[in-house]
């Protein structure tokens, strides 16, 4: 296992922790060791306060109000869109659609683009390491249209199977759905390279960046994918807000998904003309405070520097892998640190992950146990579940050390 241990971390974890009120709580004198950011991240004070400020001082519905509060809410909501646009390097704010979460974003593609473009016999491809949110929408789409599903399996060391990639490319799929980073194995997939190869055979490329956007620089122009989805609550923002990026030309050619207020230009009883991008895809009152707070979260991350976030987490995962390798009977899944995102899955002897997570919770360590919404991957490795420690900017070596010593305690309890 390759280990890099720079003498100084590029991120000062202590000063970051000061921004996160939840981390200052203790239970029985034990500080919270939060290792479940892969499920949802904690929120910095800046975000919590931005939400409070919104409701205390300028809450109003957007876009249609002529009065001051509504103008301010609209301006801040649209400013958040521009922040996200810059964060992912999209060409225009019209390419940035606010949704409820990554799941809603992926379903938008499956319903709106999918129903308009996928026909019986077409091939839809996804990988064995996808999150359920990037599996089930395509299964539903295939059922509705008669399209055929094909899969890219994973290798035992957690990479995409190259033979499968070659095989499905020959099928010239209509669509491929691919996660940028696995939420279980941590695998960082070569999005740009795969997008190029799939584009060469005419395939529309959908990237699930839910585990990438919070943790590393992402550049949708460089990737060149047609759609990119991610979710705010995993990147310091509140729950209930997500993003779908779509290439402008693709979005223009896609019919709307949800119908309602704000996505229209003109409604008559019998027919309707739709609004321009991005509003065509934003029906109903948006999650205004959620979007504004996502903008604040993006500011926070940008100031920190996404390169530094990635460096920090790479170093931390390498350290964790090394420390965990010294725990007897412990097996880590996924690639080595240089190809590994912030999520680290493992199993420990015959201790069921639920029991392990329960024991760790007694030490005030929060990890996730289960299938991580990736049951096909569990089937691949023939395990019911894993325990997952997932890291973020507020985690440091001390968290890993606490985890490792608690794992020792679990071994004792289970008489190993």
């Amino acid at each position: 296992m390759a280990i890099t241990t720079p003498s100084t971390s590029t991120i000062d974890v202590e000063s970051i922790r000061a921004h996160f009120p939840i981390l200052h709580q203790e239970v029985d004198g034990k500080r919270l060791v939060y290792l479940d950011s892969g499920a949802t991240s904690q929120k910095p004070l800046a975000v919590i306060e931005a939400e409070e400020e919104y409701y205390r001082t300028y809450n109003a519905n957007v876009h249609r109000g002529v009065y001051k509060l509504s103008e301010e809410a609209t301006a801040k909501y649209e400013a958040a869109r521009v922040k996200v646009q810059r964060f992912i390097n999209a060409r225009s704010g019209k390419e940035v659609l606010f949704t409820a979460n990554a799941t809603a974003a992926l379903n938008l593609v499956a319903y709106a683009w999918g129903r308009a473009n996928v026909r019986e016999g077409d091939v839809i491809v996804f990988t064995e390491m996808e999150h359920h949110s990037n599996i089930v929408p395509w299964q539903i789409l295939a059922q509705a249209t008669g399209a055929r599903l094909e899969f890219i399996h994973v290798t035992d060391d957690g990479y995409l199977n190259e033979d499968d990639i070659a095989r499905v490319l020959e099928l010239r799929p209509k669509l491929v759905a691919l996660t940028a980073v696995s939420n279980v194995l941590g695998t960082i997939n070569p999005v740009k390279e795969l997008t190029t190869r799939f584009h060469e055979v005419g395939t529309t490329v959908v990237i699930d960046a839910s585990q990438a956007a919070p943790h590393m620089p992402i550049d949708v122009r460089d990737w060149d994918a047609d759609f990119v989805a991610f979710t705010g609550h995993k990147m310091l923002a509140p729950t209930g807000i997500g993003v779908l990026y779509g290439k402008r030309a693709v979005l223009e050619a896609t019919p709307p998904f949800l119908g309602g207020g704000d996505m229209i230009r003109e409604v008559h009883l019998g027919n309707t003309r739709y609004a321009d991008l991005p509003y065509k895809f934003e029906a109903g009152t948006p999650n205004i405070s959620g979007a504004i707070c996502l903008g604040v979260a993006v500011d926070y991350l940008t100031e920190l520097g996404m390169d530094r976030v990635r460096e920090h987490e790479k170093e931390l995962v390498a350290y964790a892998m090394q420390q965990l390798s010294e725990v007897p009977d412990l097996k880590v899944y996924g690639p080595p640190a240089e190809d590994h995102g912030a999520a680290l899955s493992f199993t420990l002897a015959d201790i069921h992950p639920h029991d392990l997570a329960h024991i760790l919770d007694r030490e005030n360590i929060a990890v996730r146990a289960g299938h991580h919404c990736a049951q096909p991957l569990m089937e691949h490795y023939d395990i019911p579940a894993t325990t997952r420690a997932s890291f973020y900017i507020y985690n440091g070596h001390d968290d890993v050390d606490t985890l490792v010593s608690a794992l020792g305690r679990a071994r004792e309890i289970f008489q190993l």
Binding site: G65, E71, A75, K94, R265, E266, A275, D276
Partner: protein
């Protein structure tokens, strides 16, 4: 407030210049402000590259109506090439009143329609590209 709803604004609102339609226009274009539903149509005839006749129809607030009314006065007899050069700033200066972002949309609806017409359908129908 009197700053805003000046005498000449109300005058153009209540007595719009060039209101109507042209039977066989060389250029016709219409668009609406999706957020308020205001809609404006502009018809033009062009002779020797110059705006010969211009009429507008549709409905909207005092700002959008006054703005398009004044705009039609401005372009009568103007070379189409010059019409293409008219900027947001020109229109806002012509109106001569302070505007908040929402009302700027009202003020510029007429220009948006005009540009959509002279550039050909879809030419500049986009806020951002105006």
């Amino acid at each position: 407030m009197e700053d805003f709803y000046r005498e000449y604004i109300l005058d153009h609102y209540r007595n719009p210049r060039n209101r109507g339609t042209i039977e066989a226009p060389d250029i016709t274009y219409e668009d609406s402000n999706p957020l308020c539903g205001d809609e404006i149509r502009i018809d033009l005839t062009v002779r020797d590259g110059v705006v010969d006749d211009v009429k507008f129809s549709g409905r909207g607030c005092a700002i959008s109506q006054a703005s398009v009314s004044m705009l039609t006065e401005m372009i009568e007899g103007m070379p189409v090439d010059e019409v293409k050069q008219i900027t947001k700033e020109d229109v806002l200066e012509m109106l001569g009143i302070p505007l908040t972002p929402v009302r700027v949309k009202c003020a510029l609806l007429g220009l948006k329609v005009l540009k959509g017409g002279v550039y050909g359908i879809d030419g500049a129908a986009d806020d951002e590209d105006l």
